[in-house]
């Protein structure tokens, strides 16, 4: 598809997803119209491809194997977590991360078992988006990226840096087919983990987009300790008539 067709396709989607609706503007989401279109694209891909595949995986693969798959990827992701902990000045969490990688790669049989957690070495929550936030980089506009999910100007850069910091990327440098398969498995596994949340989300609200956005912005604000631009200034309305 060339770029012009792409644009026509997107504006057609825009019509269906109600870009024309007058919405309460949200300061943190200046690109809401575009983001909602991307969300529709994502939901479409999810309905026809991601979700059915994840459901199949979830139904067929036994729980211990699933746990092994998750642990295997998480072990590689611990590298970026540990590095980010150091970059954020959390030396202790950084060392814990290194200890986790060492233990899980050996005793945990190449990361298939998360022995370190059982020994009390807790997995970190650090990522490069947070590191940038702590260095003072502003959050930028909220973004919804198909297949990746909720993100932001700053966090999508963080996401990319963390992906490149994953050793699997270099280990599979000459084996593109293996790399693509691993990305496929990881995506399927991650999506399968979200299946329970999926149900809650579709029951909890008629506007999934707004719900996800709010949860994402709150979560990022909480773990970076830096509130995002928002318009929740009236949260402290005095109680009336009670």
């Amino acid at each position: 598809m060339n770029i012009r067709n792409c644009l026509i396709f997107l504006s057609a989607l825009c019509l269906f997803s109600g870009c024309a609706t007058q919405r309460v503007p949200i300061a943190a989401d200046p690109l809401e119209g575009f983001n909602r279109t991307m969300f529709t694209v994502h939901e479409g891909l999810d309905t026809v491809l991601l979700k059915p595949v994840a459901q199949g995986y979830d139904a067929v693969v036994p729980a211990p194997v699933k746990r092994g798959v998750g642990n295997f990827f998480e072990n590689f992701r611990d590298v970026a977590r540990s590095g980010n902990a150091f970059l954020q000045g959390k030396g202790r969490q950084g060392v814990t991360g290194l200890g986790r990688i060492l233990i899980n790669s050996t005793l945990g049989l190449f990361g298939l078992f998360d022995v370190a957690s059982e020994m009390g070495l807790q997995k970190g929550t650090e990522d490069f988006g947070q590191t940038l936030a702590i260095w003072g980089v502003p959050s930028g506009p909220y973004l919804f990226v198909p297949l990746i999910g909720p993100s932001g100007g700053r966090d999508i850069v963080g996401f990319t840096v963390d992906a490149y910091a994953n050793p699997l990327w270099y280990l599979t440098k000459d084996e593109i087919a293996v790399r693509n398969s691993l990305i496929g498995i990881y995506t399927m596994h991650t999506r399968a983990n979200l299946l329970p949340a999926d149900r809650i989300l579709s029951e909890a609200t008629w506007d999934k987009y707004a719900h996800i956005r709010s949860a994402y912005l709150q979560r990022r604000a909480a773990i970076t300790g830096r509130p995002t631009l928002d318009d929740y200034d009236d949260l402290d309305d005095p109680p009336d008539g009670e």
Partner: protein, 208 residues
Amino acid sequence: MKRIISLLFSAAFLFAAPVINAQETAPDALVKSVTEDVLEIMRQNKDIQAGSINEISKLVDAKVLPHFNFRRMTQLAVGRGWRQASADQQDELARQFRDLLVRTYANAVVSYSNQRFVFKPLRMNPNDTEVMVRTEIMQPGGSPVALDYSMEKTEQGWKVYDVVVGGVSLVTTYRDSFAQEVRAGGIDGLINALTEQNKALQARQNQT
């Protein structure tokens, strides 16, 4: 002598009054006892573990809901629009929102019945009327998830008015979509949207 005795008595009453107040369950103790109570019942009740919606809602109605202030939750979720609403509309909003939350989350709670909960020490001054009670859910193979309760002191004891999971407030996540409905269709528009959502959920739950 009589006077002394009566003085003693009145003194005793003076002291007794604050003692009675202090016996009101502290917010952290309340969270702990309700959580443990509910987990215990869930682990023992086979119907609940099999996902019986009837049994789950009975448990939630009896043990959990009395400790929530849904009016305050709704007020916070609706935000600015709350003041435009008449008393009747406020009642209806609170009722529908409560329904929606219960329908959505009652089932989800069951999946946590085998997790370990850690109760964090409470930091509060004796005169505080609002506190945050902090707990953590330890997940096997994952980082612990923070589960915090915003609570306020009322005449009927401490009540929860928000639940915050990993920094995400249950009430706040509804603010944008609620504001949108109020803007598009007024308070009645929001009531309508909530009612429709509840109807759809009820239909879906009756099917299964």
